[in-house]
Symmetry: C2
Subunit: 342 residues, 2 copies
Amino acid sequence: MRIAVDAMGGDHAPQAIVEGILLAAKEYSDVEFILFGDGEQIKPVLGDSYNTDKIKIVHTTEKINSEDEPVRAIRSKREASMVLAAKAVKEGKADALFSAGNTGALLASGLLIIGRIKGIDRPGLMPVLPVIGKDDQFVFMDAGANADSKPENLLQFGILGSYYAEFVLGKKNPKVALLNNGSEEGKGSELSKKAFELLKADESLNFVGNIEARELFSGDADVIVTDGFTGNAVLKTIEGTALGIMKLMKSSVLAGGLKAKVGGLLVKDALGNVKDTMDYSKHGGAALFGLRAPVVKTHGSADKVAVYHTIKQIRKILSSHVIPDLVTHFETAKEESDKISE
Amino acid sequence: MRIAVDAMGGDHAPQAIVEGILLAAKEYSDVEFILFGDGEQIKPVLGDSYNTDKIKIVHTTEKINSEDEPVRAIRSKREASMVLAAKAVKEGKADALFSAGNTGALLASGLLIIGRIKGIDRPGLMPVLPVIGKDDQFVFMDAGANADSKPENLLQFGILGSYYAEFVLGKKNPKVALLNNGSEEGKGSELSKKAFELLKADESLNFVGNIEARELFSGDADVIVTDGFTGNAVLKTIEGTALGIMKLMKSSVLAGGLKAKVGGLLVKDALGNVKDTMDYSKHGGAALFGLRAPVVKTHGSADKVAVYHTIKQIRKILSSHVIPDLVTHFETAKEESDKISE
C-alpha cells in the first residue's frame, strides 16, 4: 500500500511529519511513502532513508498555510504539497492521503480532487474518541466537515461510521446512536427528528436511538451521528473543557503550597494518563470519510508519535477494505432504488 | 420581593429545597417565600419557621415528575406545585418562580402560564458559567429551551444576555459573541451567518464576532449566543467531559498504587476546587430568560447550598430591575419599527 504524505502541513512540519513517517516505515514494511514537500528540508531529516524503495520525495516548494482560505488555496496553489499529494491519490499513484495541515483545505482537496464515493452526498469528518472507564473507542461523525446538513446526510454518516466501526475497529454489529437533546424517541430539532426516522428505517444499521452529549464517553454507542455544526461545537467543547480542567488542576495544586505540590508531582502520571486518553490525536487522526480513498488529518500540533499513530490507522483502513465495501454498499443501494423507480 | 417556590421539584425534594430556602431566609430579610407543595412533608423540615410572615405554604399533593411529558403535564395536572407556583407569578402574587423540577415542564409553565416579554419571540435557557483562570463568569444562551431557532431568536438572545451581564453580573458594555465553527467573519451555517449579520447590525450591542467552543471558558466574551440545539449539546458535553476526567483521575490514582494514592489524597482539595468551578449549579441556576418574570431552574440533584445560591441569584435579578428594563427596550424597539412602517 502507498500513502501520499503532505510533508509540509502542520506546526512542526516537515520535521515532526518526516520523523513520524520514519517510525512507521521501520515498523510497517508493507507501506510505501511518497513525501510531497521541500526536498531541501525533508532530506536532512530522512538521512540514510532517502530514496529507498519505501520512502520517496516529490519536491515542491509551494504549500498551503493554516490561514489560507481553503477552496481558493487549492485552486490557486496548484503545486502545493497537499494538492500534489491529493492528485497522486486521484491518479492512482497512491492509495491514501495524510496531512496535518489546514483542515478546510484538506476537506476541499478530498472533495474536489479525490472525489466522493458514488451515492454519498457529503463526506464527514470522523475522529475516533475514547470510551472512558474501559479500553474502548467510538467514532463521532460529522465533527465539522459540513456547516449545514440534511437528514439524508446524517443517515449516510451512520452507514459510513458503522462500516468503519465494524471493519476498522473490529466491532460486531456496531451500535449507532443519534446525538440529540433528549434520549426519548420524538425529541429533537426538525433535522434530528427526521434523521431519527431515516436511521430507524435502515435495516442495515443497528440503530439504538438517541444519545445525549452527557453520555458521549459512556460506551453506549460505537458510532455517534450528528450534523457538522453541532459536531464541531461538541469536539471543540471537549477540547476546551479538558484543557480548562488541566489548567485549574495545575493552578489549584500550585496555590496549595508545598504539600499539594508534592501531591501534584505524584499525580503527574495520572494527569498524563488523562491527557493521553482525552487527546484524540493519540488514537490516530480524524478521517474525512465518504471519499474514494482514505484522507486522514491529524492535529496541526501533532508530534512524531501522533503522526506514527495516524499512519498505523491509515494502514488499518487500507487493510480492512472498508472503502471498496462501502462503494459496493452504495452501488447496490443505488441499483435497488433504480429498479424500484423503473 | 416574593419568590414562588416549587417545593416538590428535584431529586431531594422537598427536604433539600426547604432547607435551602431556610438558609436564604435567614440571610435575606427582604425576601418572602411561598412554598407550593405537600404541607405534611414541608412542615417538619420548616420546624419553627412555619407560617412566619416570611415563609408560607400553599398546600397541594399533586406534582410533576421528571418523566412527565412537559406540555401535557402542565395542562392535565392543574394543581401541581409547579403549575400553582407559576400561576401565583402570573397573578402578581409572587415576583419570580424557582424550581429544581422537570426542565421541560418549567419551560412550558414559563411560556404558557407566565408569558413572554412583548417583542421576544422565544425565551432561552441561560446558565451562568465560569471563566477559567480568573474569578469571572459569562452567560451562555440558549442552552436548550428551543430545539430549532431562527436568526432573529439569536439576536434576541444576545440582547437578553447583554442586559443580564450588565445589570445582574455588573459588567460594563458586555462583550457579546456568537458561537460558531470558526472565528473569522463569514464562517458558519446558514443560521449562524444570518445571526452574525443581525448581531453586528444591532447598535445597542457590543458584538465582538464569532467564538469557537474551544474558547468558551477564556473570558473573551461575557455573553455567548447560540441556538438551543447546539447549546444543549455544548452544555451536556461540558458535563460529560468534566465527569469523565474526574473518573479517569480517580481510577489512574487508584491504579498507581500507594505512592499515587498518597498524592491523590493530597490533591483531593485541588480536585474539589475544579468540581466547584465547573459545577454551574454553584453559580446559581439557569434562568429561563425572556419571560415577564424571572423563572430560574437549578439541577434536579441540587442540595440545599445550590438552592440557597439560586435564591441569591433570583434576588439579584429582582433587585436589578433587569426585566422591567428589557420590557422597555423591546417596547421602544416596537414603537420605533411601528413609526417607520407608518
